[in-house]
Symmetry: D2
Subunit: 96 residues, 4 copies
């Protein structure tokens, strides 16, 4: 049976990822409250930068695990070019 494309996220600690995403969701709610309360825009922008940094850190970790998991498997089973193109596209998007 060929390795499913979804295997990697299972291997990764799914619980931990979900916890981090819940925390990021909470940060976004915090942002909404700040706007509703008319907080100073620099404080809101600083919080936006913090949410972005949290998302970036999550993205970097998933990218790392993906490369060591799915990408390596894909190269070994002859589907490397497709997997590398996919990786490069997502790196370009995350780097923007």
């Amino acid at each position: 049976m060929p390795r499913s494309e979804t295997t990697h996220v299972d291997r990764e600690n799914k619980e931990a990822l979900i916890k981090r995403l819940n925390r990021i969701g909470g940060q976004v709610e915090g942002l909404t409250r700040m706007v509703a309360e008319g907080r100073y825009c620099i404080d809101i922008l600083t919080q936006i930068a913090a949410v972005r940094a949290a998302l970036d850190a999550l993205g970097r970790e998933m990218l790392h695990d993906h490369a060591h998991g799915c990408l390596k498997d894909a190269v070994r089973s002859g589907r490397g070019d497709h997997a590398i193109d996919e990786l490069m596209r997502v790196v370009a998007r995350l780097a923007r």
Copy 2:
């Protein structure tokens, strides 16, 4: 009475900002679901990039309104240096 630092966000359409933040919150929930369902990591990473782009767009707009509002007022009332330092710091954080 000195101009309050919170005036600008009121002038800005607060409702529209909150709607956009709610949408971003929904995107983060979508991300959490994708992880819970064990979706392919490249799809999750693509979605992370989309949330980041939405946050960046919001940040750019707030920065624009802040500069044309609070910053201009601050320069005119002699508090320009402080306001400019604040702006540069937040720009550096958002650019990271």
Copy 3:
């Protein structure tokens, strides 16, 4: 006589800026040599990142001096909106 748009760069230590740009030019020549010698691509990419970081640091400093110089003067003399739009445009380009 209205303040010329070029005044700010004179106030800034022009010599220091030119020295830094010469050093960046030297780094680019170093890159060219690395490619000509067939050096390992990761080493070349690391050097590309270093040149980018040097350019970014230079850009951040110029932005800082510009905001505290030209921008403040522009706001005070009623040309603030134009100057702020210019600044936001260049910030967006540098952040990309």
Copy 4:
């Protein structure tokens, strides 16, 4: 004989890369002239952003070729983990 780490850049059109780097070197010289002539800082900053964009485009291409060349070879010959860590590190630097 094990595959040398420098092979990939040879395979890549080295001449084309050197031409592009020479052009970037010329852009940096142009920047130096702009500073020497006391040009308006927004114009200088716009040019800094252009040089950065040219470097980024070069980096993206080298990254693409590296991944499809050296990285794939490394994974196939059992040195994948090291090559992937290297790639992730350089991606993080380029994304900053």
